[in-house]
């Protein structure tokens, strides 16, 4: 769907014998297996295309769902082959053939039932509203879309954002209940349900009459800005779509918000969806630089070359042990900077990195820091 037949063919041809991005594939680095590298996947897909290997071999699904699809191999690739889109395309073929892992179907079922792919309780936005005392303004120009990551894994981002809106008396609206935007389903290759979710969200935004939607989750921002239209779910004409970091930058500049400076040493983890798919490297840094008295201590692997913390590719639903190891590695890179705070800009990343937080930097989401600075 996202690669033409020709692009798909060229990407398989480019990847199948090329070992040049092994170092950029986090899963290959963790599992130490060629089969989990871009070359291994390229060769596998070549063999499947030509009937040398069979799609129904359980190893095929196992390999294709072991990838963060985080765009980092392509970032290093001088030929710019879109390896990760190739993997997502292959996952889609597995879904169509009924050969995807059970976890994929379970995630889809949970999304349809609860609005989130993650197991366990999902806190509804209205509960967060009650907790913070924030009031929704029906028909407001601004619509807040929090995303499943914030609702299920790291609600502190929502609470902080609602408190900021209340403190600054910014009228806002929400979609209640808020559906999943479809990003996890797209990454897992369930395009039909991803399209359904995208269309639902798009329709509800149109119905709300909002002029701007602000997204708290980097993955939702990627889905809205790069995938909605291609899933047949165009957003209302004229709607402004802002990631929360961009929105803050604008509000601070336009409304002259006064911010208290912090003195800690800090580093910043670029979520893959911002680092490579929407190229949003600088707004979070500009915002954070205005919150701190010190410049950032950049991590090994930053901006376009940032390593995935483990949140990408729906891997937390299919391969949690690899996700845990990826988070540990990313946290270690943050620790190596000597920073006291590890700031990120997406609730999913904040949640994962918090889970592996050790005696190094304290993990915070950018929205929490803005709340504390106001």
């Amino acid at each position: 769907m996202f690669l033409t037949d020709e692009e798909r063919k060229l990407t398989i041809h480019g990847c199948r014998f090329c070992p040049m991005c092994f170092h950029a594939d986090t899963v290959a680095g963790i599992t130490c297996r060629e089969t989990n590298s871009p070359r291994g996947r390229g060769l596998l897909l070549f063999a499947l295309e030509n009937g040398v290997l069979k799609w129904d071999d359980p190893a095929v699904a196992d390999i294709l769902y072991k990838s963060f699809t985080d765009g980092l191999p392509e970032e290093w690739c001088a030929g710019h082959y879109d390896h990760d889109e190739l993997v997502i395309d292959a996952r889609h073929r597995l879904v169509e053939k009924g050969l995807a892992p059970e976890a994929v179907g379970q995630a889809a079922a949970r999304i349809l039932a609860t609005g989130s792919p993650y197991p366990g309780a999902v806190q509804a936005l209205k509960d967060q509203l009650a907790e913070t005392g924030a009031l929704v303004t029906p028909g407001a120009d601004l619509l807040v879309f929090s995303g499943c990551g914030a609702r299920s894994l790291y609600p502190a981002t929502i609470r902080s954002f609602l408190k900021i809106l209340t403190a600054k008396q910014v009228p806002f609206n929400i979609i209640d209940p808020e559906p999943c935007c479809g990003m996890p389903l797209y990454q897992l290759g369930d395009f039909a349900n991803a399209a359904l979710q995208a269309k639902t969200v798009s329709m509800q935004i149109a119905h709300s009459g909002a002029k701007e939607v602000v997204l708290l989750d980097a993955d939702c921002f990627r889905m809205f800005t790069t995938r909605f239209a291609r899933f047949g779910a165009p957003l209302p004409a004229g709607l402004k779509v802002s990631h929360v970091s961009e929105w803050f930058c604008r509000m601070i500049a336009e409304c002259k918000w006064a911010l208290k400076k912090r003195t800690e040493c800090w580093t910043y983890h670029d979520p893959s969806s911002l680092a490579r798919f929407t190229m949003l490297h600088e707004p979070p840094r500009e915002l954070l630089t205005s919150l701190f008295s010190q410049e950032p201590l950049e991590m090994h692997g930053n901006r376009g070359k940032a390593f995935c913390c483990g949140e990408g590719g729906g891997m937390s639903l299919t391969n949690p042990e690899i996700v845990h190891e990826a988070a540990l590695r990313r946290y270690e890179q943050a620790r190596n900077t000597g920073a006291e705070l590890l700031v990120t800009c997406s609730p999913g990343c904040a949640s994962l990195l918090s889970q592996v937080q050790g005696d190094g930097p304290i993990v915070r989401d950018l929205v929490e820091l803005v709340e504390e600075a106001i």
Partner: protein, 481 residues
Amino acid sequence: MAANELLMDLIKNELMDIAGRDDVSTSEVDRYVYSTDVYWIPRMWLDRLQGPALPDFVVYPESAAEVSRILKVANRFRLPVIPYGGGTGSQGGTVPLYGGIILDLKKMNRIVRIDEKSLTVTAQAGINGQVLEWELNRRGLTLAHYPASEYGATLGGYIAARGSGTLSTKYGKAEDMVMSLEAVLPQGDIIRSLPIPSHSCGPDVRQHFVGSEGTMGVITEVTMRLDPIPEERRFRSYLFSDLATGLEAGRRIMTHRYHPCTIRLYDAPSTQKFIKRVLGIDADGSFMVTGTDGSKALVDLEEAGIQEICVSLGGHDLGREAGETWWKQRYDFYYPPFTPDLPELFGTIESTTTYDKILPLYEAKKKAIETGYKEWGATYTGHFSHWFPWGVMVYDRFYIKRPPHDAHEAMELHNMIWADAARASLVSGGILNDHHGIGLKLGWLMPEQYGPAWQILAGIKKMLDPNGIMNPGKLGFGFPG
């Protein structure tokens, strides 16, 4: 290997007992993926849907002790063992010709010690080259080994294939950087070479494993010399009217005993083909990049001396920009679609010789390719990228745009060209290979190259590996015993 299912299951269980259940694979997908490296023949073989040479097992050991136990099992069952690092080799060194065990060493990826006083690093052999370099760079250090395969290759692979990097002219080849190593002998003994490379204690055991391509044992840990990241590294480029003048410039730079970190001289066809395509520079003649690094004072001095030599020979000084661009994009040449790829038939037939013989060697190979295979439209390009105090390496390639589609015919043509090119090197005073290794590709020419001296290598191999289990069919050694 022809074996019954019962026997294969028994062997698998023994391997699992050693490496763990999850670290032994017999899956069809794993076996297929490990059937090739970057060598043209196995790639073409897969591309044309021929049945590949498959391993029976892929095993991922985590320690020298596990490797030792695996080799004992392999000896008992007379099972070939193919050590596998990054699979970035271009000579077919990891192709499991006779099946057996692919021993993927990438789980042995620990840095054991960094000695910042002596400037050495000790690491397990399976560590990825770029990951190691990143760790060193954090401490202001560098291995200074920058092969095009750096992103995929492993430390053990660097050593096992006598690899070379883009700054080898100053820092040496990987083999020059090895202080000491640990290896597992084919029958399972774990040995260490002397702790330092410079001594008067007889022939150097270390050298039996450097360049051994997995035929003498398994390299499991290596101590390497390091360098501090230089204060300054600067590149400059020149355009010469012809190759001979460029070669003379390089010779003068080296024999004046300057220490450039790189000299990279492209012949006219490469200047046209690659420099234009990758760097966007459209020029006739021979393009040369030079690099100097160290303290600013040293770089100023060396850059001026090199510039004087190049300009005095009529070299047009292109300034720093093109050279800096080359450095930043030095690996881009090796990514598809910039690197040669199927269905084209191609091969890198590099060789090294002394300054007095290098131009005739280049011309002999060019003639062997372009005249000998004229009916196939064969073309030939070369660049000169690893310079020594006494000579230089030519990194030359042949290309045939439309080779036979039939896999057997394509392989026959490929091997005929290789034989002619290799013999042209040997007759001209060169060697079979400078830094890609021998592998499956050139093994059959090793006895011819060495002559009576071959018995020394063959004798050592026989003594160390009486059952011939270690990477059979490579480096000129025979078949499983």
